[in-house]
């Protein structure tokens, strides 16, 4: 036990004297956590700029444009006389789309003839497309229903009956866990875990890379590898528990990060992820022959790792074989479990598979790490 605390203390010294590691594990964690949220700070796309080409120019069409502008989704920034000019504005990037109200819009609707509203939207940006389409859809449906109900009432149908005919049932949509549909709430829980996982991996990879470069043994004799590995890792796990406490306990009160305060399972999953990741990096560090290698190889992996846990992109759409392989990266089961507990309010029992998977990874990588470290020691001696 004394040995364990000695190693822990020594690792603290190593950490405090290595500026590169501090840059990643302290400055990096803090800055990335703050910065990464910045693009999403406005959360949802509201008021996407569009133009309207009103070929009808009646009071009815003008009211339609006003209603369109009143929705949260779009803002009618320009009223243009022709398709050509709308296209020009679109190329210049001033508008994300435009609608064309046909001639005789008002006349045809009152005559009971279906009219076509032409909509040109840039769908390369799917979020903008969705916003504009929803806004236009909502306005046309409301306008259509109003015309219809007015007609029925004129025919002598009671208003209540007319309403029920137009809308036979209420479709009540209840968005859970992220009612406002914010983008930050969507990606942030994933990104925070990814930042913690990746910084841990890169920094520990740098430390082992340095040892490989200078041929410094991991510990004096091979028998001490397990306890040294465990004690050193524990130091970083304790450091990262400070971040965990901030993210899971304090952060939700400060920002809009969703949180269920189901603390115990959260920290169990988080702790297991950290141990598994630390042992995992000790295994792959075999390939890091200079200190900088870890940075050059691991930074770029984050992007692919982000999509594997099935939060941003559904697992159902990923080939099964990739899903199986991805479970060997500690952050995958961790994000799955932590999001379920944190955002969806799952109980420990409901995330048992993720827990078992992480436990398995810890054992697997611990054994492999001991084996790899011994092999490195042999190579140093050559």
């Amino acid at each position: 036990m004394k040995k364990f605390f000695d190693i822990l203390k020594n690792e603290f010294k190593t950490f405090i004297n290595d500026h590169g590691v501090i840059l990643i594990m302290v400055v990096g964690v803090v800055v990335y956590s703050l910065f990464y949220a910045v693009p999403y700070a406005n959360e949802v796309v509201k008021e996407a700029p569009i133009a309207v080409v009103d070929l009808d120019q009646t009071s009815f069409s003008r009211e339609f444009v006003r209603n369109l502008d009143a929705t949260d989704y779009v803002k009618v920034v320009e009223k243009l006389p022709s398709l050509k000019e709308a296209q020009k504005k679109y190329y210049e990037g001033e508008i994300s789309g435009f609608a064309i109200i046909p001639k005789d819009f008002q006349k045809d609707i009152y005559r009971g003839k279906q009219v076509d509203l032409s909509l040109y939207v840039d769908s390369a940006y799917l979020i903008i497309y969705k916003a504009i389409y929803t806004g236009v859809m909502q306005t046309t449906l409301e306008t259509g229903a109003r015309v219809e109900i007015g007609r029925l009432v004129k025919m002598g149908v009671p208003k209540k009956t007319a309403l029920a005919l137009k809308q036979p049932f209420q479709f009540v949509q209840i968005p859970l866990y992220n009612p406002a549909g914010g983008y930050e709430t969507y990606v942030y829980p994933v990104i925070l875990m990814m930042i913690l996982h990746q910084t841990l991996i890169v920094a520990l990879g740098m430390l082992q890379g340095t040892r490989n470069e200078k041929k410094i043994r991991y510990c004096k004799n091979d028998k001490e590898i397990p306890i040294t590995l465990f004690a050193r890792t524990t130091f970083y796990v304790l450091l990262y528990f400070l971040y965990g406490a901030f993210i899971f306990l304090i952060c939700p009160a400060l920002c809009r990060y969703p949180m269920c305060y189901n603390v115990l399972p959260l920290f169990v999953l988080y702790g297991l992820m950290l141990y598994a990741a630390a042992f995992f990096v000790q295994v792959i560090s075999y390939g890091f022959r200079i200190r900088e290698a870890s940075l050059m190889v691991m930074v770029v992996t984050s992007l692919v790792f982000i999509f594997l846990p099935g939060i941003i992109w559904p697992k159902e759409a990923i080939p099964q074989i990739v899903n199986v392989i991805s479970m060997f990266i500690p952050v995958t089961p961790a994000i799955d479990g932590i999001t379920k507990v944190n955002v969806q309010g799952a109980t420990f029992y409901q995330v048992l598979p993720d827990f078992l998977c992480l436990l398995f990874l810890c054992v697997l990588y611990f054994v492999l790490a001991i084996f790899v470290t011994k092999k490195l020691h042999k190579e140093y001696e050559k």
Binding site: Q114, T143, P314
Partner: protein, 387 residues
């Protein structure tokens, strides 16, 4: 010739240490191909949802049948209680849950507007959005169909009945990415992000190691003390490697994945070449901070690692705060991706992309201007072996 000597020396260095070709070829290529595999399906289909049917009427069964015809979702569980459905949502086994109330059909015919409850996991915006859009559209057409049928029965011709049931139809002239394929769009930005990271870091690496091992003078000497020759010679083999990566990715993306290309191929190729050089130039700017490989590499990694979020594709630039817009503009990636999206999907006239070319060329110009400082550092032996 001095230039060829530097090229030859660099090739020897690539062959003697694996890190260079691993980071310039193996890693970017495998990461990009991984993206293609992960997003290979393009659009998620058959996403699991649950239904609680408390009505058991003809109409509720038709409704469930209609749900199953939708491409995006599939009724995987028909649960027997409300709680069971909510638990499935919590456990993440389904993304949506619909509860059909008791007497649903009867209440509709009595014009009592019963409530159909739909719960969905909106934390996963993309998934929730896809199934909600599909279900809503299906319900709307069900309602319009019902309405038109009633009118038709009352003696109105079918065409007029449809017109009155749905007075305004939206004719959707989708300008780009008509298949709503996430692969098309995400793979392109992912390629750019992955390549930008590797190109910038490689550029820092090839010169940084000269400082780290104290060989800058030997390297400059071989180039007759011309920093321009020395840098261009170093770049040449990596330029060739990245061209090979480009070629393979283009084959996979436009060939294997079948992404349609509607714009001007010359513009896209030119943009990609300028992108490559501008990323190399950014690397020069970073290593010229102080010549300390470790320090400069960390800083450059910091700068490019957030590219994906700040290039404004996953989240459109127009909704970003000012700071994020500025950061985005300072990444070559943001400009390259605009040109690529404009050319691949939108067929924009070239003039509208000119500003993005100018921006990328500015990175190159700034990088070349920094060479003067780099030469000064390279001749200073105090910059060697820095920890």
């Amino acid at each position: 010739m001095a230039y060829l000597d530097v090229v030859k020396r660099e090739i020897d260095r690539i062959l003697s240490r694996p890190l260079g070709w691993v980071v310039s070829f193996v890693i970017p290529l495998s990461m990009c191909l991984m993206m293609c595999i992960v997003f290979g399906k393009g659009t998620p289909t058959d996403l699991p949802i649950a239904v609680y049917n408390a009505d058991h009427s003809e109409l509720s069964r038709v409704f469930i049948r209609n749900l199953n015809t939708l491409q995006s979702c599939k009724v995987k569980y028909q649960v027997t209680s409300f709680k069971e459905g909510r638990d499935l949502l919590t456990e993440g086994k389904v993304y949506g849950f619909i509860a059909i109330p008791k007497n649903f059909q009867r209440d509709i015919y009595r014009l009592q507007q019963p409530e159909l409850m739909y719960y969905y996991n909106n934390q996963r915006i993309l998934i929730g959005g896809i199934i909600t859009k599909d279900i809503t559209a299906m319900l709307q057409s069900m309602v319009v169909g019902l309405d038109a049928k009633i009118r038709n029965k009352k003696g109105m011709p079918m065409e007029a009945a449809i017109a009155q049931a749905n007075p305004i139809a939206i004719v959707d002239h989708v300008n780009s990415n008509p298949y709503f394929n996430y692969l098309y769009f995400l793979a392109l930005i992912a390629f750019g992000h992955i390549l930008q990271i590797n190109m910038v870091m490689i550029s820092v690496y090839i010169i940084g190691t000269e400082f780290k091992y104290g060989t800058t003078k030997e390297w400059l000497g071989l180039a007759n003390n011309s920093i321009l020759t020395a840098v261009l010679g170093k770049w040449t083999p990596y330029f060739a490697i990245f061209l090979l990566v480009y070629a393979i990715l283009a084959l996979v993306y436009f060939g294997l994945c079948g992404v349609p290309f509607v714009g001007n191929a010359m513009v896209a190729v030119l943009a990609s070449l300028v992108f490559l050089v501008s990323c190399f130039a950014v690397g020069i700017i970073f290593i010229s901070l102080n010549g300390n490989f470790r320090y400069c590499l960390s800083n450059s990694a910091f700068y490019v690692a957030m590219g994906f979020a700040f290039a404004g594709i996953t989240f459109p630039t127009m909704s970003m705060p000012l700071f994020a817009k500025i950061y985005g503009a300072l990444l070559p990636l943001s400009h390259w991706i605009q040109i690529m999206l404009d050319q691949t999907f939108r067929n924009f006239p070239f003039v509208y992309d000119l500003k993005h070319f100018v921006a990328m060329i500015l990175f190159v110009a700034f990088g070349f201007a920094t060479l003067i400082r780099l030469k000064k550092l390279a001749l200073d032996e105090k910059r060697w072996y820095q920890e």
